[in-house]
Amino acid sequence: MLKISELSKRYEDAHLALDNLSLEIKPKEIFILLGANGAGKSTTINIICGFIPPSSGEVEIDGILLSKEPLKMREKIAYLSENVMLYDNFTGYQNLKFFAQLAGKKVEKDELEAILLKIGLQDSFFHKPIAKYSKGMRQKVGIAIALFKDTPVFLLDEPFSGLDPKAAYDFQQLLYSLRDDGKTIFMSTHDIFRAKEMADNVGIMTGGKLVAYKTKAELENADLNKIYLDYIEERQ
């Protein structure tokens, strides 16, 4: 379970990027955070990942506190960003192998290739340098790396960006299966329609604040697009 308590972040230039955010995301849950650029979505993910320290507040995963055991917490997290982070000079296979080994997994070639196939990467690209991959293909390798880490929490920052419809559909199915396996999925996106389709719970952020929290049941017959735009306009 991912628990965020009264999390705030004020940057050195005094800008308050995150204002007292509290959330609880359970296992077997897909939580989607909606918000415009600068709303505080990425700041939230950056703090959970330990890329930046919070000004105040706490993050807890399965009883591990970010403030106490940051390294141990990272072991519980798989992270996928919009611009997938990979070594350009390595092949997709080599990138996956490296991060799998880094996670302490025993890696067999067949297993690695199987996972690359599973996320829909053409086998002719397995051993080509990442520099030759399209954005969608890079995204797939990033997904494979996140999957291979096999953590209880997945943090996904705009993960559908750049994926073609087929890949997006496959990835969506993959996230469902991860959820069904008991994983906690925290995802930020601009895509309201996908949020409504996938999310168990949705949060809307503006100006660093969580201004709305909607459950799947609440969204069932509601117009999420309208709700979202209302909050955005209210903020403006």
Partner: protein, 469 residues
Amino acid sequence: MNSVLFIKDLKLILKDLKFQMFFVILVILFILSAISSSVSYKNLSSDFQADYKAHVDMVNDGQSTSMMGMLTDYWVIVAKPADPSLLFSNYNTYPDKISTAISFYEPRFFNYGTEQGEVFSLNWYFILGILSGFIMLVISFEAISAEKRFGTLRLLSIYGVKRQDIMWHKYLSYMLLYLIIIIPPALVSMLLFFALTGTWSMIYMAKFALILLLSIPFASFFIVLGILISMSKNYRNSIVLIVFIWLLFVIIIPQSAYVIARQIRPLKTNTEYHQEGIEAFNNEFEKWGEQYNSSVYGNGSLEDGLRAKAVYAAGEKKSLVSQEELKDSKQQTRLIQKIASMSPFYQLEMISEIIFDKGYYLLQYQEETAKQTISQIKNLMIEQDSHDNTSLHLFYRWASADQYALNGMLFPFSKEKFNHPELLFVTNVETDKVGTKALSIILRLLPILLLNIITFMLAAVKLERLDIR
């Protein structure tokens, strides 16, 4: 050590086009340096042989080595034969030979650190001392920025890799790569040089191995510096910075050392020193004339050996000017060395002088050897002279015999051939013992080791504070 991280870094660098390009360049340069140095070796060997042959001819001739002749016409030469150390450096700004007048005053040295040679020569010093630092800077200056650009720095962080570990493993992989790009081509270069010159020597093999080993802290400094630069925010600034640092160490500091030292400790020209010497001689000579109310010029004007005494005293004054010239030259050289030592490149050069017995390190021992040799020659000449009935044994009865000598009745010193002409050409110069040398090298290594530690700590602090969002 995390082998996964280490191997990853190693593979990334091996795939780097810059690294591949530099490796090829280094292989070519090492081979060319062997060929170029073997040509220098052959040329210097033949120069040395020519000098030596002239000496042997002179000894056989017997004219110049007559003791009378030696006083005016000959020099003691302390020379170092060409040796395989030429592969490392030909020390083209330093003489490896000094000539010393056989004077019964303080010896006067010539070519003491003033000889200028070729401006550029291709050898290991150029590769290890000048180029490799630049190569390591260029290879490592993207160490962290590339990880940041790819975003992998964040991903590594998510995998619980500490930032210090990222830096440490990068450093180790660059160090290993330094050895990979330097040792195999250096080995080929060394074997090629030995084959071309026929100078196979286990001692020199060991010395070359030692200099390669000692170049590691210098390479390490540039790697750490490159890693530190790789954390700067602007790529263009990083490139400007590495070029500036390289120029600072290779050109600006060493050249400034010469300019500053020449300002602080200026040297007069050879002509000025020569003129001063002549003036000192004449002034003293004239003093004697005034004291005894007689002209000092012309044969026998001062009677009872007074002229000879005047010549001796004036000669001593002239030799003081020579000593001053030598002292000025040494002081300037020491100042140049002190300032230039701020450049790591120069430090490596100084260390190589100790290992190979070259340059200014050797020169101080050559000077000492020359002084001792002249003292030995003087004693032997006096001893030999004392057995010659045609000589007036002037070195201990100079003044009283002067009038006879000047009247041409007898010679002031023996015309016999000197019995030990081999002393006029000295090649065997003893330098420090191994232990003392090791201590000197360690002392010279300390600043670079300290620089390594400081730069590493700075880089570690900067990486810890690096914004990886």
